[in-house]
Every structure is written in structure tokens, then in C-alpha cells.
């Protein structure tokens, strides 16, 4: 195999470090406010923390999933953002540290009703349910089980991330081995494992906020939200990098078009899963199932539900049908930013109605996600600066360095 001719420098532009430093400043400033909230309004703090953690965890895990899809399918679209996805995936060790406050919340018996003594539970429905079905608390929802499972999830995620980035790093230098088969060997089982682990994690961390409610598709709704957020995040980062070399040389309209198609696909799958859950519960009309939606439609929460349907699905769907829009990174980036906001709103709408009967947003719901985001982005941009923006000696790098203009079969 002949080494591809690299006509330009592949190191990340200095702007990456600048953004990283600014993110750290934001993280520290908001982190201090968050810390004050942690002591003055601990309950609100932990709710906001869970919301923020789920948002940023989603970018890391979603990026890992898209990276695995690329390893299985190939394609220039994935090569051009491969190091962006990789940098997001390699924030998983940081997310282990960021998980500590949630462990503290569990150990202090906060936010999760199954941790509380029965008479301390506000919602009569949940109290009655836990009274009747005590085995749920004993067998599955208990602090040690919660922590052991979390360790297992993070172990699996970090192991996949470590292997993929380790082999990816080998292909930066000349004479690199062809790791394509190794990537595939991890990506296939990795995607299946991700499906299982994120489903269990979604049950443990989010769905158990209301232990009386069950939905078998809930894990997949969280999963697709993460993948959608990650695709949009990659589009935002590629837009920032597009003003500088080497991304300005690497990013072709064909690749942007593919990223736009992924956004459309994931938006539709998210709508499909969310609608399926709602349709089944609506059709069944059972008291212990509909409580989830009643809480999220009544007392003002319906505004957010409607916003999610209209501006999370209808409008992005209609816009993403346009071919010229999907091919223009300068336009696509705005929709990507908007969908990331929608991802936050969706998680807010899933998590917060467990705590508040009527529509309300606390300071912690905004400050804490920004604080976590500051640190996460700092770590992300640090990762992004650490490696070249393309693994130049990977056999697939040729698809980006010399895009196939005139070959058949496509």
C-alpha cells in the first residue's frame, strides 16, 4: 500500500486551544456558582446536575456510536469528522469524574424517590407503588446496585473508547498498521453493548426518578437523542474548524451533505421513537402509564411538549429536506445549534416534571449544565488539539485527502 500524498498540515489550528481555555474559564466561573447552589439549594442543584450530566454524556456516547457506525460502514463523511468524534469520545474519563456528584446524591438519598423513606415521597402515586412492590427497591433500585452498574457501564464505554483511540493513534505515523479489521471487531459488538448499557443507564439514572412508570422504548429514546446531539455537535465543530486549515481543505460539500442526511435520519428516528412511546401509552390508556404524560402536558409543561414536536421535529424535518441547505455548512450549522438546544429542552422535559408540578425552571437547571459544559468543552478541545485532524496513514484517509471525483458505482 502506497502512502497517500499529504499536501497540507493536519494539526488542529491554534483556535482550538483558545476555545478550550475560554471554556475552562466559563466552567470555573459557573462551577463556583454551582458549588454555592450545591450548599444552599442542594435538591435543585442535583436536579440540574443530572440534567447537565445527561446532556454532556450524550455528546460523548453519541460520538462513540457514530464513530463505531463509521468503522462498520466506511465513507469519507466519517473520516472528515473522525477526530472530532474521537475527541468527544475521549471525554469519557472526565465523565467518570463528573459522575461523582450523582453518586453523592444517591449516597445522601436525594432526588431518587426509591432512596427515600416511604412517607417522605411527595407523589402519592409513586409512594403507593413502592409500598405495593417493595421488591423493586430491594432487588434492583438500591444504592449499591446503582453504583455497581454505573461502574460497569463506564468500564465498557471507557474500554471501547480506549481501544478505538489507541488503534486510531497508531495510524498517524508513516508505516502504520492497517487497523480496519480491529476497529470493526470492536465497533460491531460495541454498538450492541452501547444499546444495552445506555438502556440500563437511562433506566437507572433517569427513568427511576419515577419508579412507578415503565416504558420499554425509553432507553432507545435517550440513545437516539445522544446520537442526534453528537452529530449536530460534530457539525458545529467542523464549522468552526472550516475557517482554518486543514479542515478548509478537507471538508467537501458531499461530506456536509452526508452529515445533513444523518441529522435528518436521527431527527426522524427520535420523532419515531418518541411518538411510538406516546401512541402506545395513549392507546393503552392505563393509569400507571399515562401519569408520565399527564405530568408533562398539564400545568404549562404542554408548551414544552408542543415546542419539541413542532421545533424539534416538524421544522427541522422540513428544512432538512432541502438539498442545497444540507450541502452548505454555513447554513447547516445553525440548525445543528438549534437541535442541540432542543436536545437540552427534551431532557429538561423528561427530568424536571418529576420534581415540579407546574412548568418552572430553576437557576440550577441553567447554571449547572453550563458549568459541566465548560469543563467538558475544555477537555474536548484539549483532546482535539492533541492529535492531527485526520489519521493520515489509515487506509481510508485517502477518501478525504483525494476525494474520488470520477469513479463509478455511487
Amino acid at each position: 500500500m502506497s502512502a497517500p500524498a499529504i499536501k497540507f498540515d493536519l494539526t488542529a489550528p491554534p483556535v482550538v486551544k483558545t476555545i478550550g481555555q475560554r471554556s475552562l474559564i466559563v466552567g470555573v466561573v459557573f462551577g463556583i456558582i454551582a458549588l454555592v447552589l450545591a450548599f444552599t439549594r442542594p435538591d435543585e442543584f442535583y436536579r440540574g446536575y443530572l440534567l447537565g450530566f445527561m446532556c454532556w454524556l450524550g455528546l460523548a456516547l453519541g460520538s462513540m456510536a457514530i464513530l463505531m457506525i463509521r468503522h462498520l460502514t466506511g465513507g469519507g463523511w466519517g473520516m472528515v469528522i473522525r477526530r472530532i468524534l474521537g475527541a468527544a469520545m475521549r471525554t469519557l474519563p472526565l465523565l467518570v469524574v463528573l459522575f461523582i456528584p450523582i453518586v453523592i446524591a444517591v449516597l445522601e438519598h436525594r432526588i431518587y424517590p426509591w432512596l427515600m423513606p416511604l412517607d417522605a415521597i411527595q407523589d402519592p402515586h409513586i409512594r403507593e407503588h413502592l409500598e405495593k412492590h417493595g421488591f423493586i427497591k430491594d432487588a434492583y433500585l438500591n444504592p449499591s446496585g446503582f453504583i455497581i452498574r454505573a461502574v460497569l457501564y463506564f468500564f465498557i464505554w471507557n474500554l471501547s473508547s480506549f481501544l478505538l483511540s489507541h488503534w486510531s493513534r497508531q495510524t498517524d505515523a508513516a508505516g502504520a498498521p492497517d487497523n480496519t479489521q480491529k476497529f470493526k471487531a470492536v465497533a460491531g459488538p460495541g454498538l450492541i453493548l452501547y444499546g444495552f448499557t445506555i438502556s440500563f443507564a437511562a433506566i437507572d439514572w433517569v427513568m427511576s426518578l419515577d419508579p412507578s412508570w415503565i416504558s420499554t422504548i425509553f432507553g432507545l429514546i435517550i440513545l437516539i437523542g445522544e446520537v442526534l446531539a453528537a452529530m449536530c455537535f460534530a457539525v458545529v465543530v467542523e464549522r468552526i474548524l472550516f475557517d482554518y486549515k486543514p479542515m478548509s481543505e478537507m471538508l467537501k460539500p458531499d461530506f456536509v451533505h452526508d452529515h445533513g442526511k444523518w441529522m435528518l435520519t436521527f431527527t426522524m428516528v427520535w420523532a419515531y421513537f418518541s411518538f411510538s412511546q406516546w401512541l402506545i401509552i395513549w392507546a393503552g390508556n392505563l393509569p400507571n402509564e399515562i401519569s408520565f404524560y399527564l405530568k408533562r402536558i398539564e400545568n404549562g409543561w404542554g408548551t414544552i411538549a408542543l415546542t419539541l414536536a413542532l421545533f424539534g421535529f416538524c421544522v427541522p424535518f422540513a428544512i432538512l429536506l432541502s438539498r442545497p441547505f444540507k450541502r452548505d455548512i454555513r447554513k447547516l450549522v445553525w440548525l445543528a445549534i438549534w437541535i442541540i438546544v432542543i436536545r437540552y429542552l427534551d431532557l429538561f422535559w423528561i427530568i424536571e416534571p418529576n420534581f415540579s408540578k407546574s412548568l418552572s425552571i430553576t437557576v440550577a437547571d441553567i447554571v449547572v449544565p453550563i458549568a459541566i459544559g465548560g469543563f467538558w468543552l475544555w477537555f474536548f478541545f484539549r483532546n482535539l488539539a492533541a492529535l492531527p485532524l485526520l489519521p493520515a496513514y489509515d487506509p481510508s484517509a485517502i477518501e478525504v485527502i483525494e476525494p474520488p471525483h470520477h469513479h463509478g458505482g455511487t
Binding site: F275, L279, A283, N285, P404, H405, H406, H407, G408, T410
Partner: protein, 179 residues
């Protein structure tokens, strides 16, 4: 009836996809607008090279999809709420959430059918006769040869000039295509 030109156009034969794309670019830039290209497989950038930008198939699909969606919804509404109302789980006969899945499926079905039929219609298919097949060598367009034609209906068309122009691009052969 307008008198039909006995010559349909002048066609050049090339050895590679690259040569065809380059030749198509040059011909289009030289001011010949009514041109077409033939190859055994799809070639990225060839459509742009012959100046083909306007693709109406998506519009046909969109219209088909909208018609399908409306048909699906109205069909269910008429069946469940007008023609034969049934009490299902105490829900009103006209319950839109229950209709969404079929509406969606009908949208996809009609859009898919529109895509196929629209593509055939806009391509003018089925077409039992096409002048390019009057050139015997053209049969290799489905194997390993690449063809570019300048139609005689082009404003700038001049048999000698076109022949010389195409001949200068190093083709394997240049032939006149009888109508």
C-alpha cells in the same frame, strides 16, 4: 409538422470516464448547450459537466408524498368516523393519533411510487426508438466506452465545426448520428 433534421447530432467516443468528464466540461464551456453524455455507470460530476442542474424528480416526489399523506388520513377518517364508527377503548371515532402511522406509511408509499413513475416519465421512458443506437459502436456504452453527443438542435451547431471540435479532444472515434 416541422421538418426533422436528418442528422440527430455528432457523437464522440472516449476511453475513460475522466476523458468524458473533461470533454463534457470543454464542450459546455465552448458554448454548446444541447449536449448529452452516456456511460456504463454513474459518474460523479458528469451531470454538472454537461450543464444539467434542474432536477424535477424531488418535486414530483414531494407532491406524491403530500397526496399520499392526505389520502391516508382522509381514508381513515372516512372509514372510522363517517362510514363505520366503532367505539374503541372509549376514544372518539376521529382520533388523530391512531391515524398517524397509516398516514405516514401512505406518504412513503405514494412518494416511492411517484419517484419511480416520475423518473420514468421525466426521462421519456419507455422509449422504443432512440437515434443514438443508429451508431453501431454505441452498444459499447453499456460496457466500457464513454460517449458525448452534441445535438443538431443546438444553436451553435455546425456539422464541420462540431466534428473538428470533438475530434480535437482525442476521442477514439467521431461519428454522425442519423435521426
Amino acid at each position: 409538422m416541422a421538418k426533422r433534421d436528418p442528422i440527430y447530432g455528432i457523437m464522440a467516443e472516449f476511453d475513460s470516464a475522466q476523458a468524458l468528464v473533461d470533454a463534457a466540461h470543454k464542450t459546455h464551456e465552448a458554448g454548446y448547450k444541447k449536449i448529452d453524455a452516456y456511460s456504463p455507470f454513474p459518474i460523479d460530476g458528469l451531470a454538472e459537466a454537461i450543464g444539467f442542474h434542474h432536477d424535477e424528480v424531488p418535486l414530483v416526489i414531494l407532491i406524491g408524498g403530500i397526496i399520499g399523506g392526505c389520502t391516508g388520513y382522509l381514508m381513515q377518517w372516512w372509514m372510522s368516523a363517517v362510514d363505520y364508527p366503532l367505539n374503541i377503548g372509549g376514544k372518539p371515532p376521529h382520533s388523530w393519533p391512531a391515524f398517524i402511522v397509516i398516514t405516514f406509511e401512505m406518504t412513503i408509499l405514494f412518494a416511492g411510487i411517484s419517484a419511480v413513475l416520475g423518473m420514468l416519465a421525466l426521462n421519456g421512458l419507455p422509449m422504443p426508438y432512440h437515434p443514438v443506437f443508429n451508431v453501431p459502436r454505441f452498444s459499447s456504452a453499456s460496457k466500457d466506452r464513454f460517449f458525448l453527443i452534441v445535438f443538431s438542435s443546438d444553436k451553435k451547431y455546425d456539422p464541420v465545426a462540431v466534428r473538428n471540435f470533438l475530434g480535437a479532444m482525442n476521442p477514439r472515434s467521431v461519428s454522425e448520428v442519423p435521426s
